[in-house]
Amino acid sequence: MTSLRLSKPDTDTLVPFIGAVALILCGSLVYPQFLTLTYLGQQLQISAFLGVIAMGATIVILLGHIDLSVPWVVGGAAIMSTALVGSGDALLGAIAIPAALLFGALIGVINGFGVAIMRIPSMVWTLAVNSMLLGVAVLNTGGFNPKGEASATMVWMASGHLLGLPVAFVLWMALTAGLTLFLGRSGFGRYLAAIGYNEKATFLSGVGTPRVIFTAFALAGACSALGGVLLAGYANQAYQSMGDPYLLPTIAAVVIGGTSILGGRGGLAGTIGGALFITLLTSILSVMQISNAWRSIIFGLIILGVLLFQNLRRKAAS
């Protein structure tokens, strides 16, 4: 009788990290500046914004769902936190970040409700929630909008440095570590994967699957909201549709990180690589001064290439 072991970490996880290093090395042939600490630090900082959001998305994708409300949770959290800070009230300013996170979690609960209770496919329900959030944001600007402003804490979180590393990056790593620990320790991670593979069997194993789904979406919402807070701190302001550029890259980062879009397989560690890879790819294509059309084509082809590589390697391995 063989004994129980923790299964080995998926080597897929390493692919995006290797890809990211390869990107920098190749890029540095044209721009030696890629190898400077400034540039690399900057990339760590910027990928943290995508990374924090993708961290939440990973949880939902592990569950076998998808969260398309990311754009306006990001935007909404940014608007909300800056509005609270900008109100000038010290107390409101102090609760700006927790309030924004709470807002994200609340939207997550609404998402979870549609998915777990109403059994509406997450891909459409979260899309509908997103358009309602857009609607609320638009409606909200119609009235008196307090002057928005990022607090010093928000700016520090997004742009500050700690021990030579960007705070945003440190925060991202710490959260990933914490969340990984939580997923591992609480059994929550097991439930996520189990539901991702087979929700019915998980439910019949006596798991409170609705609770898991609610929690997952709430966590994802809070992560998106944190992303929004960071972005507001980074740009030092909030504006409508500031979350729009994050939806598709988030999904790409999660998938490149080795998490199966169907749920079940994957994890947060891979997403770190995925977010770094996507951020670097975007940045390098931007710096390379190629036309938009070609940027878009090359971006798509490289993503396809990485996925092909991962999948064919996985097939060869099995």
Binding site: T38, A235, Q237, S241, M242, S286
Partner: protein, 340 residues
């Protein structure tokens, strides 16, 4: 009351003229917006509502509808067709796709509906179009920066807008008109998508890889551009930037030389003004070139041309003095959502 002010309707160079048979008011007018989810568009809607709420205008209007159809030119065509079908006297709109309206113009002409596109205007000579000169806007920013540099520069950073968009193309053309003349100039272009966060990222990357620039010309989203430069410790250099409230705050605070100029959302009100003038039988230039609302860095003044108490995403271009008393921020922001 007479609201027609000819000085408002300056013709773009080479523009023809258009007039329609006068109709008796009050009129039914609609404004068909595209996407609603960004600050500029929201302010354009608010400006339109604020204009219609002013008593002298309200008296001339029987019905005023505003709809947003999203980024779908087919839906926009459908919306305009609907208002034509419903017998509206005039429809103003920001074209989602400026080349898609030839058949709509024909249908409007048949039904006697006056169309007034603005902001993202059409490639057409059959309707009156309200806009600032986009080429002129690009030209202005680049020229101001080059002037500040004494006409000489080695390296300029250009932050472009949304790819594939005619407005982006024209602004870039305007900038290149100036910058292309400068000898030995290296122009580094990045795509900021008219988005503050995106601009900040791409500019950060450009600074890290290209080092220092002598000047910067930036389309919408310049707050991100300035933030990135600050973060990189880039010295203050002359800049041509947009006119968001937050950008002007930064410009004033950091003493950045240059110019802040942009498309004003109040164009929506001018388009309505033009529509009414046309319905009253006035002859207008086919191609209206509104003066570009601009403030030189040295003229920035809080409370006058920017507003520290308002959101940074607020657009400072609240009106055109030639046409009517510019809207006060209160008039725009206080424009509550439910007094349709």
């Amino acid at each position: 009351a007479e609201t027609y002010r000819p000085e408002c309707f300056a013709a773009a160079p080479g523009s023809g003229e258009i007039s329609y048979e006068a109709k008796d008011g009050p009129y039914k007018i609609a404004f068909v917006n595209g996407f609603a989810g960004n600050d500029w568009r929201i302010q354009a809607i608010q400006s339109a509502k604020a204009w219609a709420a002013r008593p002298e205008n309200a008296a001339k209007i029987e019905d005023f509808k505003v709809v947003s159809v999203g980024n779908d030119s087919a839906a926009q065509i459908a919306a305009i067709d609907n208002f034509i079908a419903a017998g509206y006297d005039a429809v103003t709109f920001i074209a989602v796709n400026p080349t898609a309206f030839e058949p709509v113009i024909r249908r409007a002409a048949r039904a006697g509906t006056v169309l007034v596109p603005f902001d993202n205007v059409l490639d057409s000579d059959k309707v009156v179009m309200v806009n600032e000169s986009q080429i002129g806007l690009g030209h202005l920013k680049a020229q101001t920066v080059m002037d500040a540099l004494g006409g000489k520069a080695k390296k300029i950073l250009m932050v472009n807008g949304l790819p594939g968009n005619a407005t982006d193309r024209d602004r870039r053309v305007g900038m290149m008109e100036v910058l292309g003349q400068v000898e030995g100039l290296e122009i580094v272009e990045v795509v900021g998508n008219w988005d503050t966060g995106t601009s900040q990222k791409v500019v950060s990357d450009a600074l890290a890889t290209h080092g220092q620039f002598d000047g910067v010309v930036s389309q919408h989203g310049a707050a991100g551009t300035i933030n990135a430069m600050q973060a990189a410790g880039h010295p203050i250099v002359p800049m041509g930037v947009d006119a968001e409230n937050g950008v002007r705050m930064l410009m004033d605070e950091l003493n950045i030389p240059g110019v802040s100029a942009s498309q004003s959302p109040a164009l929506s009100a001018i388009a309505l003004e033009a529509a009414v003038a046309l319905l009253e039988g006035h002859t207008l230039p086919q191609n209206l070139a509104l003066p570009i609302p601009q403030v030189k860095a040295e003229d920035l003044a809080p409370g006058v041309n920017y507003f520290p108490d308002l959101p940074k995403s607020f657009n400072t271009g609240t009106g055109f003095a030639e046409c009517f008393e510019p809207f006060t921020p209160e008039e725009l922001l206080g424009q509550s959502a439910d007094n349709n």
